[in-house]
């Protein structure tokens, strides 16, 4: 994540790279580019707190659903990173609403991973259904990347469709590397520490 770069509005900008997340209740902007990955924006209107995550579920979510699927735990834990940070700032998932972007067929997913966007879309729909969190806006799939800015103080998201998929080429290579690493590490598990 590139932090505190001043944007044209004079507000601090937190620029998320693929795999990053950030939450804030301050007067700032959180931005990213959504390609093959999912970008989820959450907003808790009671305390005017917003957050964004850019991530991928590295594999095919089975037809039995995300609770029966080993690969989905990677997606679930990614959502927990953002939710956890928002809860630490006073947020409550019962009050949150979601806006979801990305999962586009940008050309990168062709190498044996053509179904990746559909699989990620299936994951995110089912996840928010189980969490009983209202999806206010869903702009997913398609052929093009999306440049996104979230105002975390009021939950507004500005979106620009990048008709030329070569725009923001830094993001293209970062996303490619991130998705590759997520596939390589898809069987990872966390540490276990026993105290006695």
């Amino acid at each position: 994540m590139l932090m505190s770069q001043r944007d044209r509005l004079g507000k601090p900008l937190y620029l998320l790279y693929p795999g990053d997340h950030y939450a804030s209740g301050g007067d700032c902007l959180i931005g990213t580019v959504a390609g093959t990955c999912l970008v989820v924006c959450l907003y808790d209107s009671k305390i005017r707190l917003g957050g964004m995550i850019n991530f991928v579920v590295p594999g095919t979510v089975g037809t039995q659903g995300i609770l029966h699927d080993d690969i989905s735990r990677i997606g679930i834990v990614n959502m927990e990173y953002l939710m956890g940070d928002m809860v630490k700032l006073g947020g409550d998932r019962k009050r949150m609403t979601a806006k979801i972007f990305g999962a586009a067929h940008t050309g990168d997913s062709a190498a044996g991973r053509a179904s990746l966007p559909e699989s990620n879309i299936r994951f995110v729909r089912e996840y928010f259904e189980i969490e009983r969190i209202k999806i206010e806006k869903m702009d997913i799939g398609g052929m093009f990347r999306r440049k996104l800015y979230l105002f975390p103080g009021d939950g507004t998201v500005y979106r620009k469709v990048l008709r030329n998929n070569d725009e923001n080429s830094e993001f293209i290579s970062l996303e490619r590397e991130y998705v590759h690493n997520e596939f390589v590490n898809s069987s990872r598990v966390g540490r276990i520490v026993l105290f006695d």
């Binding site: 679930i76 927990e80 939710m83 956890g84």
Partner: protein
């Protein structure tokens, strides 16, 4: 009378995932959506003579978080194991959990088999 495993997490997805992972053990499960909710349920269970064998608790939760839950729980129960299941991996936070009386700390993502093995270690 059966003892219960109490799953405390504000995420329905996590609560159901943990319950499904523990199914092979055949131990009945109760769910709570935050630390305060868990204390209330445990208090009601005690009046009915029901017992908790183990708590599995998240850390970041509204109302009463995991560390606060363990601290409150330990005021009345020094021995029932409390295993933390969280994305929090900071040494300081883990130490706070240990100091509050946690018995173990599992950092997500977890595999069902590992969780079952940890529960088996505490619940004979």
């Amino acid at each position: 009378m059966s003892k219960y495993i109490m799953i405390i997490d504000d995420s329905p997805t996590i609560r159901v995932s943990v319950e499904m992972a523990l199914k092979p053990l055949g131990i009945p499960v109760m769910q709570a959506e935050n630390g305060q909710n868990a204390l209330d349920i445990i208090s009601q269970m005690k009046t009915k003579g029901e017992e908790i064998a183990l708590c599995i608790s998240d850390i970041n939760m509204p109302v009463l978080n995991g560390i606060e839950f363990i601290t409150e729980f330990r005021k009345n129960d020094r021995f029932t194991p409390v295993v933390v299941l969280t994305t929090e991996a900071e040494k300081d936070t883990i130490q706070k959990g240990k100091d509050a009386g946690a018995s173990g700390w599992i950092i997500k993502p977890f595999q069902a088999e590992d969780l079952v093995n940890v529960v088996k270690r505490f619940v004979k």
